[in-house]
């Protein structure tokens, strides 16, 4: 069975600085793959490369395919419309719009495969959003913002949902809560590529871990198989300090 997303030699360069060395990656249907690595390792760059997106001026190399179809030449909005949905690490919602307006930005896509999320389902998933549809998104708490960002992404009916460090700045119990929701989505058939610095938090929920170091994949495998690998432990200790 073809993977939902696959990259061949995907690389990203900013001017002369290579932020991501060529990566071959496959994210199979209904799995949760997590990219871990220290600050500046290239996690966001990898996710951005798949989405064809960056806040800087990147030069992309290699190929990206969605269910076997090459989407390399597509722009970021076109990839988003095709179902490659990225929730970026900072400023992932529109602060000037209300909760309901943020959720209403997405035009429902027709003729998509798999489950089509409705507004009611998103509110059921994150009841705290349903309590404040008229609130300005910029005045939400960090956890609520993350929930809104994920809710917004779900309404785009993603084939691949990419979440870039959703735990950043959140309290431990909120991190657990959000990761539980993400795991639930994957169990329901969603395909997710997550990036995290917090290795402990994602160990238990991920199907596969990918460790990045200075733009290079140095380790990958099931959490149980890699958890005692010294590179992961080193990286993980380095991240904690």
């Amino acid at each position: 069975m073809t993977a939902v997303i696959s990259t061949t030699g995907l690389s990203v360069r900013y001017g002369g600085n290579v932020a991501l060395q060529p990566v071959d990656l496959e994210v199979p249907e209904a799995t949760l793959v997590t990219v871990v690595g220290a600050n500046g390792a290239g996690k966001s760059t990898l996710l951005g490369g798949i989405a064809g997106w960056s806040r800087g001026r990147p030069v992309f190399g290699g190929k990206v395919a969605l269910r076997g179809v090459d989407i390399t030449s597509k722009s970021a909005p076109d990839r988003a419309r095709a179902g490659v949905t990225l929730v970026p690490e900072s400023h992932s919602i529109f602060y000037d719009l209300t909760v309901a307006e943020n959720l209403g930005l997405q035009r429902p896509r027709r003729g998509v495969e798999g489950h089509v999320f409705t507004l009611d389902e998103v509110y059921a998933l994150f009841p705290r959003l349903s309590e404040r549809p008229g609130q300005r998104a910029g005045s939400l708490s960090g956890g609520q913002r993350q929930m809104l960002a994920i809710g917004r992404a779900l309404l785009a009916n993603p084939q691949l949902l990419m979440l870039d460090e959703p735990s950043i700045g959140l309290a431990p119990q909120v991190i657990v809560e959000i990761l539980q929701v993400v795991r639930g989505l994957v169990d329901g058939g969603m395909t997710v590529l997550l990036s995290e610095q917090n290795v402990t938090a994602v160990m238990g929920v991920s199907d596969e871990l990918i460790l990045l170091e200075r733009g290079t994949v140095v380790l990958r495998g099931k959490p149980d198989d890699v958890k005692s690998d010294h590179r992961l432990i080193d990286a993980y200790l380095g991240m904690e300090s």
Partner: protein, 285 residues
């Protein structure tokens, strides 16, 4: 003594200014584009109306309609040129390029339309009602009503429709909007065309009240700037009030003191406001 005639005149002038300011403030709020050529779009709106009427003998309404269409296309082309800078929020280059546009448009207009002042007549000018002892023409009523209707419509679109939400989202973060499958370039081009159409509408309507020269435009941009500062960037209703205020001020101050000083005094007010109440750029209604 302030007279009814001065007040009516002020409201009509203010409504014209309001039409001029509406597109400019939405463009600035939505795309962060400061368009220094907005006054030239006003001037061209008047001249294209005049030109179509004199060349083809078309009635006023057809000339005005033609001007709106032509200016929509020119506006879209201008934004096409500015696209890269707009996506990158490169304010300095945007200002230099639009300043360049203003000179290019003035030159082209002078070559095409000649150096003489021109004026057109609207069939509504002959019809009028009497308010107190002042004559109010149907054309003036049309200007006021159109301004109100267009402000109301713009406010409703921004607040109540998906297009409005997308425009406001784009104003905040065009790159994030791309991740939602939205295409900023299309919205920017649409908003610029809308802004150009409103400027042309103001020009085509007001040229029935006073003649236009191809060198016109600088004053209009400055007035727009004053109105937007007073009313708030992207604030639809604030801009309407500010435009009416500036219109009344121009009419009354011009009559009681001297028309020569109105723009100077308006800018003095802006300077004071800038000093005591600096405000950020946001798109509200």
């Amino acid at each position: 003594m302030i007279t009814v005639a001065q007040i009516i005149n002020g409201v009509v002038i203010g409504s014209g200014y309001a039409l001029l300011a509406l597109g400019w403030t939405i463009l600035l709020g939505a795309a962060r584009v400061v368009n220094f050529a907005h006054g030239q779009l006003y001037m061209l709106g008047a001249f294209v109306t005049w030109w179509v009427m004199t060349q083809s003998g078309a009635p006023y309404w057809l000339g005005l309609l033609a001007a709106l269409v032509v200016m929509a296309v020119i506006g879209a082309l201008m934004q096409r040129i500015l696209l890269r800078m707009t996506l990158e929020h490169d304010l300095v280059r945007i200002m230099i390029v639009t300043l360049g546009f203003s000179y290019v448009l003035t030159s082209v207009a002078t070559i095409l339309f000649g150096g003489n002042a021109q004026q057109v007549k609207s069939p509504l000018q002959g019809l009028s009602v009497t308010v107190g002892d002042t004559l109010l023409s149907y054309q003036d009523i049309l200007i006021v009503v159109l301004a109100l209707v267009l402000f109301l419509a713009t406010s409703l679109v921004l607040r109540r429709t998906r297009l409005g939400r997308v425009i406001r989202a784009m104003a905040e973060d065009p790159l994030l909007a791309e991740l939602g499958g939205m295409r900023p370039s299309r919205i920017y081009i649409g908003v610029f065309a809308f802004s150009a159409v409103l400027a042309a509408l103001a020009g085509g309507l007001l040229t029935t009240r006073s003649p236009v020269f191809t060198t016109l435009g600088g004053e209009q941009v400055l007035l727009t700037f004053v109105i937007v500062v007073l009313g708030g960037v992207g604030r639809v209703w604030g801009n309407l009030l500010a435009a009416l205020g500036v219109g009344l001020f121009t009419s009354i101050f011009g009559a009681l003191v001297s028309p020569a000083y109105t723009t100077g005094v308006l800018f003095l007010i802006v300077l004071v406001l800038f000093t005591i109440r600096p405000r950020g750029v946001q798109l509200h209604d």
